[in-house]
Symmetry: none
Subunit: 231 residues, 2 copies
Amino acid sequence: MSARQILIVEDERPIREMIAFGLRRAGFEVIEAEDSRAARARIADRRPDLLLVDWMLPDVSGLELTRALKKDKDTRDVPIILLTARAEEQDKISGLDGGADDYVTKPFSPRELLARINAVLRRTGSTSPDEVVEAGGLALDVAGHRVTVGEQTVPLGPTEYRLLSFFMTHPERVYTRSQLLDRVWGGNVYVEERTVDVHIRRLRKALEAFGCDQFIQTVRGAGYRFSTRPV
Amino acid sequence: MSARQILIVEDERPIREMIAFGLRRAGFEVIEAEDSRAARARIADRRPDLLLVDWMLPDVSGLELTRALKKDKDTRDVPIILLTARAEEQDKISGLDGGADDYVTKPFSPRELLARINAVLRRTGSTSPDEVVEAGGLALDVAGHRVTVGEQTVPLGPTEYRLLSFFMTHPERVYTRSQLLDRVWGGNVYVEERTVDVHIRRLRKALEAFGCDQFIQTVRGAGYRFSTRPV
DNA sequence: GGCGCGAGTCACGCGTCCGTCACAATGCGC
DNA sequence: GCGCATTGTGACGGACGCGTGACTCGCGCC
């Protein structure tokens, strides 16, 4: 369908943002929640592909959240990775009992986390195979983390890729600069809105060589839109 | 789409005014209150779009105010951002429990505050599903922010789009120039009423190419109407 | 350490759109 | 038919939004 969406449920903002940052760099779409209640709301409206749940949460413990989600048939299939502090190591077992698909002990290296996320996605991926989104000659290869035209790969920087990837999975819809910053850059980053313009420009330039730059459309006074239909 | 109204509830006047200054610069309309009681009065008569509430207030704490407002069905939907000093950090959680939509710790950068305000407004304001309004061959694509006839897009400027968009969602009804200025331009702009005529003219011209200009009808002495039925 | 790359910001230029005006055209009451 | 009120229309000045190239800074790599 798109770049994989990962929901981070973690109450400590700095940790949450650090993880989110790493995952976005790795090409995931990241959603954040600070407690179980918020997590349930995000799950309902964003349907993430994987959950990273901190063991210690302000309202309900991560374990309880896991148990609850694994009981609900709507959320049963969403893989869950639990984050636990080392001191709580003994609880791992009950974590897996609760239905979590894996666990990672803090502190962990981003690389380790990524490896586990990919492992879990691969394992559960049989139900939702790596998809390829096509639009106007462009092919978004999520697994390969690239965009191709025919046999050629479009050379894109990380941000350009995330931007195009987001657009291709959300076509025919206008997004304001603010919304794009939220969904592509991540909710808690503070950059100028005009930064979006610059990356749009770079993306267009990259697509130009393949004759696909007209798909990125400017909607004056509103924002940008990805559309294969003429302006 | 008028400017968003933000109510600042903060007892220290210098801080309040500084925040207000920044928000006004960013295009918001700002209302101020120095305590909970005043806040409730302003909410009742001004109906702000968002509340910035300081944690420490002279009468009732910001948290209590938040709880109270979130219980009242009239004010439940107004998003609230709590301002807390760093020393009170542990209270964040109960702040969110109380129903606040976000929190910002002092000291904060104006940019961060703006980003959070926008994020909250976006989250609470854009829950509408993709809708398409059809009328007389015209299709208003709200999400895509455009109007199409068949496969073709009607080329419209921002104001023309807003005007047509308003008409298509409020058809078969006469609106005076004054009402149109209110609903399409936004309540607090001062422009000549005849400006409406000019934009009606431009809109008609844009629709003419598609044979749809007769839908915009003049009602002499009253105003304009969008109707797919013949005059 | 030097290097290149990419991200974010800025300043400038240009095109588009907006609000206003003046004048033409049209409708309405007498 | 006449005169007044109301609306249509074209033009214009200015503002604003966006595209664009250049710059700086931080980071990873050799």
